[in-house]
Subunit: 203 residues, 8 copies
């Protein structure tokens, strides 16, 4: 996996090639379209594809067996989608099946409540929310599995680029909520997939 | 009304006397027991009483007619009670009837949901919550009246003395939520009572 | 209502259409001219108009009866106008009559004082101010109705994108002042209109 | 479970009694010795004990079957121990076996490295660290299971009561690290035990 | 002049003696009663007196000629008095005549307005205010002389120990307002007196 | 005077015209070249000129008599010059004579020391400094007149857009230092000129 | 040496010329390509070269004797390279030999450990790291010489432009770690070279 | 070396004994008198002494040969002394000769200038300063050796417990200044002694 910001296209291509040469799946996150164009132009990775909504470049060289478990990825609002898609792409390249549940922020609680039965079957849930980030606490109170909360940098003035949602999630009064960095869908997905892998293994 | 912190007992007694001399009701907020003792010792205010749970001294010199409206004051947890009681005492000395709804934080959503029919009848609601402060958004999404959110300084480390709850409430994605300063039950109660007074007047 | 930032034009059009299909009035806030152009290009909303000064797209499908009450929206300076216009457009699409009082910041107190008689007739007032945000406290001291304070991100260095005005307003020593998020004219207008609706209903 | 700070002894005893009456195990965290004394004085809970190093009151009414899995709880320094003990007591009352690995901060890397084989067998690991909080990243790089990082409020001046460790952990460049609130050993233990329960169930 | 906090009594006495030995006036600010007691106990400074309301020890060894100018020191509320008294004592020991104008915060604008004619005669004005600190801007708009603003650490939650008032004052939209550190009545008084000295000299 | 940022060209021209119509001198600060071009294009202000280094538009309609006093404006480094020029232009349009002393930051103390005799003759001094902002304290210790410190937003990473210099200056241990907002050369110049005017009047 | 940001090309050329005229080596840091082009266009400095990876302009007019000592410059990740190169160029123009050790962040500890023997021979080491900045502590624990830590502004959301790495490094529990400003490779290199010079002199 | 805060007396004694048993010199920093009393009471360390001004417990079991070099430790004011003494005691127990230069803050520059010839002979200098912390930059500009800056938590309101001095020092415009954590005299002394040891070795 490669985190693209602050790297030049040359550096990204070099790391991408090194990882690809070992026949691994490769994922480059926060990649601009121009980075993908540069990678395509090398002609070396015909199978690489650009997932625009996730801002990610995906090179799937070996298809992993789909997981038994399904990982719910829940978003509060439309503007949280890019981070949710980053989590989705990351999980899927590791073989994890996912289900995206969109636009169920706490201002419209009934939409969330209709998904509860499904959520209660999960081993672990990812909650992606900006603005006030209250969704993680509410979901945490409705299920008994771990919730991985991803604050996003979405919001008005005093959201301070995601700080408000981050603090909300850290202060969650629901047990079982842990937090990753702002907009870090990747890390949430890796952690959730690690947990599911161990549980699936025992089934 | 007197805000006691940073004032000496002498100063508080002086202001208290000045206000009381006009036959008004007098309220001293954030008052330690020792302040009340000092006021009692003057012998001047036999009717003054100390509301321990609200940390307030109340001198009710004229009984106001009880309001038609009832003001719900909702708290997320037990530790938010002192601020809720400050709001309750403040509203009541202005003649506003109140109803306290305790311990309905978002980690136990079903407790809150059982109160929704009652909340939907209110003209305005006060929500008192510390930690992640998510309760204001959730309540705001369940009713169509204004919600006045009071962040409290309750919480673990990164709650930063109420800052986390304050930011959450400011970033609420529910319409109709406005915010007062951390722990400021007094100001929330005054605003809510002003609103109810105007509405009651028309009924 | 749609908050446009962080949403793609496709997403905005989709939500806009969904809302419009129910014959509701639709409001899209913080919309660039280019968003409006994209909406016009669909040819679906001939009645949609762009309110440039408010940065808002308005689709008024049903004309609401004008409110009995008039909502004063007061600004400290010229640079606060876009936020004030967002409040104005929002209130008006909900049927609320408004009156804009501009450029009455506390550095020129006499300008404000000449408006006091009018302000004292209001049920609720919106105050929009950046820089030091002192206007909310001053207005709050001059009237006996609730004041909804909107800090704006206008100002020199240590205004920290509206944080200074936000803190000022939260710390207001005037009773009855509540605060919304930085630059959030929309939320202030919704709250004020909800209050006025209830009061108008009784008259 | 009860979080004691900001609650009066009366409130704690009331909640403690309510929880105990359902024959559950009860845990009161951040409890001063004086809280325990008040609980003992009621005479109602002869089996309650005070875990001084964890600052917790434990009432174990039903002994849970010990887990198959062992949960490593790692601390950087001696001063992080109270938080680690809170995690240990919490996990154990839920039936989770634990192993405390103390004083393996990154300034003495060899001490940590000697524990790596053991750590690599775990399903999930709790890392408790103050000051610069670097231990979570280092452990995260040495194992392939999830790491739950608990920042502590231990440290010199610019540690800002745990903020420094919190930020370090949120910015961890190791995959699989998630974070809980400052000093929140309780929440880390609950999450880790939830994960282990599901994995143990499959074995 | 000696700033007492963080100094031991021994250190304070040593510096006090050194300054006194040159027949200067000596001022020790932020001095606890116990510091004064220690100084008295030396028996060396029979003329030293303790100004309790200003938390200052004053040793006036030479009486300076009273200034022609009068320095207004204005406070927003009762709780700002200790800082105002520190300014007053500091100015007076330098020979500056002062006039204290108390409790004229912006929530009660009419009290302030009655003092305007007097304020307009001053060469320079000190404004002491906590909470939202709006008084400095309002005064700055009413006079045409420099205003030295002293934020105080008085206030509710989000005043952050004076930070809110400090930011308000720095962002003042009135010309001629400069700011000193939180609670620093001493520095404001020195600056104001330096200005008045030069102006008085020319008269 | 007009502060240009956040205002449209139309608004600036309107205010500019209103001020100019009273035959006053007019100053527009933080003005882009494009604002000046728009003003020129109106053809109404042939005498308006653009001071590029100060980012200011100046319309001098009446020449004020030059002041007796000379106001030193000192900068720490080359990058502080735009703010210093803003102060210079502002003072000069009010008739205040100025002298710019450039590039005398504390890393090269000898350059500063050579200017001390001149500085000691001033009634008041403006110090403009970014990065660590130490120059204000050093100058304050070398002279006995008031120093008005202007922090600038110049500097590396942890200068936080001027916050570091601002805090340094507020914490100055030299008496007589007061502070204005970050980059606010205008306000420093107005205050300094007000002081000099009163002193010059007496001479 | 010249720090380019906030300076105009004219100012940079003027300072560059002044420094070059004394036959010194000249270094301009944080220089855009366009600055270098402007310098080349003057035709005055045919030997000036642009070090793109270090964002620096170098004019080496006298070749210094290479140092006996070798200065290791260690980076955590690829994105830290520009800051490391700034340190490298700075040290080399002062005659200091350097060795760059790249991409040895704590998430892959084995890569770092393979360099330990070499690091233990150094007199002083520069560690450049963003994100969580843990590398400085780990290196500090592995060697017994001083470590100069350079936080970089690289990272996800809550890295706050380098603040996270800065705090981590300041809170390092390893002895001998000192810190420079965010991204300030220049200052780290100067300090390290000063230390090495004195040690080399004695050998 | 032991950092005492957050450790119980039992823990400190245990670590102290472990370190002492290897015949090393032992240093316990930030130790209250009561900690020393507890250590004395064990009867195990008759040679342990308490350095009150440095708040340190010293057990010197082997006398190290005094260094050739002398390390200047400079303080801005009296209140910075405890941190300076911590540095002094730390250096001396490692055999480093020191010279304390007190009370030479930048508000009284002449006092500092009289020490310059002595400072210019040093290999490395420690500067301890609170409030605005400007002393480090000024010293850095006067010498050509490395300066290790120690911000202290001394100061008025907006010093924010040393944050102001820390930022000032990080933003120093003098080359060769590096910074340690707030109040961390220990770490500065260790680093300075490490540097001197290498230089002394070559002489």
């Amino acid at each position: 996996m490669i985190y693209c910001p602050s790297k030049t296209n040359e550096q990204i291509i070099k790391i991408f090639s090194a990882l690809a040469s070992k026949s691994n799946n490769v994922l480059a996150t926060r990649a601009e379209q121009s980075v993908f164009d540069a990678i395509k132009k090398t002609g070396l990775f015909p199978k690489a594809r650009y997932e625009k909504s996730a801002r990610a470049i995906v090179l799937e060289q070996k298809k992993l067996k789909p997981s038994k478990s399904i990982l719910p990825i829940i978003t509060a609002g439309t503007a949280d989608l890019p981070v949710a898609y980053e989590a989705k792409v990351t999980a899927e390249i590791m073989g994890q099946q996912t289900e995206l549940v969109c636009d169920v922020g706490v201002a419209g609680l009934h939409r969330l409540l209709s998904h509860v039965p499904k959520l209660q079957k999960a081993n672990v849930i990812i909650v992606v929310a900006g603005m006030e980030g209250a969704l993680a606490s509410v979901v945490g109170g409705l299920v008994s599995c771990p919730v991985i909360a991803v604050p996003t940098s979405v919001g008005y003035g005093a959201s301070f680029e995601g700080l408000s949602a981050l603090l909300t999630m850290l202060n969650s009064c629901s047990s079982g909520v842990t937090v990753v960095n702002i907009d870090n869908g990747f890390s949430a997905a890796v952690t959730a997939t690690l947990i599911n892998k161990k549980i699936d293994a025992g089934k």
